[in-house]
Symmetry: C2
Subunit: 373 residues, 2 copies
Amino acid sequence: MQRDFPDNASRHQQRLLLGPGPSNPYPEVMEAMVRPVVGHLDPAFLAVLDETSERLRRAFRTCNALTLPVSGTGSAGMEACFVNLLEPGDTAVIGANGVFGARMCEVARRCGAEVVRVEEDWGRPLDPAALLEAQRAHPGARIVATVHAETSTGVRNDIEPLSVLQETDTLLLVDAVTSLGGIPLDVDAWGIDACYSGTQKCLGVPPGLAPLTFSERAVERVSSRDTPPQSWYLDMGLIGSYVGAERRYHHTAPISMVYALHAGLGVLLEEGLEVSWERHASVGAELHAALSDRGFTLLAQDGNRLPQLTSVSLPDGLDEAGLRRRLLHDFDIEVGAGLGDFAGRAWRIGLMGHSARRSSIVALLGALDALLS
Amino acid sequence: MQRDFPDNASRHQQRLLLGPGPSNPYPEVMEAMVRPVVGHLDPAFLAVLDETSERLRRAFRTCNALTLPVSGTGSAGMEACFVNLLEPGDTAVIGANGVFGARMCEVARRCGAEVVRVEEDWGRPLDPAALLEAQRAHPGARIVATVHAETSTGVRNDIEPLSVLQETDTLLLVDAVTSLGGIPLDVDAWGIDACYSGTQKCLGVPPGLAPLTFSERAVERVSSRDTPPQSWYLDMGLIGSYVGAERRYHHTAPISMVYALHAGLGVLLEEGLEVSWERHASVGAELHAALSDRGFTLLAQDGNRLPQLTSVSLPDGLDEAGLRRRLLHDFDIEVGAGLGDFAGRAWRIGLMGHSARRSSIVALLGALDALLS
């Protein structure tokens, strides 16, 4: 049939996704994507939404009532936290040891906040004491914000020591985009007031939603604002009235993506959170060892390396972009390029969610060995 | 198997979706939802994204380079337009004859704009002369904004007379959430500078993306801003650098939803825009006549009634909520409740995209007759 519109992209590609996300979705998730679409106020959908929120509470390890998927990708989750918790003139202490900490600073500035930036070298974890010291120097700070798993460097920042912020008026905001489901995260035990994630990392769901949870004190902060949040779309007061008992229409929920998240969380909780953490830890350690054996240099500091996201520099003389392209074209395996400071000299290799399997490592190493032999 | 997490929402419901959206997706769209997920920088995905943008240009009838799906629902498209085009202190002339015009006013206020609100009664179209007069009274206004198809009332507002704004420094911003694909819309011929839509109405795609297009003068306005847009997530300069030739990473595109939109636009363009408009017009007229015959009162003014979204008040003595519930529970047919001024006394019946078929009307009328006999 003659078509009068472009049609060059209809061939499907299948890839092993070992980049910084998206990871390969769980098969159960792809099945759920094609559940029949129903209305956003249909009791049949609201039951799925409620169950999704309840599953999110289990994944985040929280009892927070305000726990829901934001209708956007992980960065929308970040923005939702900042626009709701900050007002113009507020002070925000933000840890920055990678792209996503730096992004937090930019988002906070666009909220009109004064940003106190606590820096650390790329590849090294933030010092929790430095964040707490910055908060003590600015006791009126509205938030201390940090990234749990820095996707740009493969570093895990320690969150638990920041739980002492519970004794202050400063809220603790944590980016768990790459950590949720992949490494231990305990929102309530760690005193996290606002936490967001993404679906396309260790949850094994396509990108498109940002799981989010706010503590009671975060909710109080939102309701005691002098001005409404600058974003109507991400206004947690209004969204909470839809997801909560009132069921007041705000915007049309992304039905199919909620089905997908619901199913991905089902897979995760059926496996068990701790088992999933162990699986990620195990394959991560195996990959770290194998890459070191092959002359790659791990860029994240020992002791704070993420198992689900490994940043490495390549052995001397290898063309990172060319090799990455051949992995994709010859073997249908995606690994990620370096970002920011690491651009042009590093790879980021993800083993997340459904992709966090020994078979992924075997496939990657086999392809690498074939290309380098 | 014993599960330690809630699992009450696993039964699938199938509905005939005749509410204000979502509509039933085209079968081709559901097939596309399960295309294998690939990375957001994979050439295989970028080809789909480019083709999606090109298909959107054809659907919007525009040559605008900046034409893309925003990673959020229709309301995110609205917010993307306002946060990029308005700066604090700017004046915005906004037509309001329903919920979505009123929402525009609220979003503009949250951008720090002075809102000049041009009102009209619910059920009646905005007077383009009144909007133009308001612009002449505020010649420095940054934008004149109006909703093309008011989903809360079923009214079509006339856009074409506003094309004279091209001769001023004021940009024309149009909400085409419910109009794109369903009734004639001609972005370039009508001099529209910024236009957004949603996927879940006449495009026959699940909710989750907001097609958007900016004219060259809108793009210039964004690049000549004194301050960056208050939203980082919706910053069209940054998003344009990813969707455009630079391919600079901004956020992870919602891969599966882009596949879905790509497929939905394929169905639309293969049918032909004009044929789709005629199909919507034909079923809309048939429904209007059938409802009038049964004693329902059409609430949108004759001559400006949307075929794809019909607002009606019920014959005296009928309990709208009870009847709507029985349609859903006994016959798996969704129609929408009234919103705002029309809450509790009206229905909104959608015939959009794949749902815009004579078989939908037959099913609805048959169920209604059964319930009312």
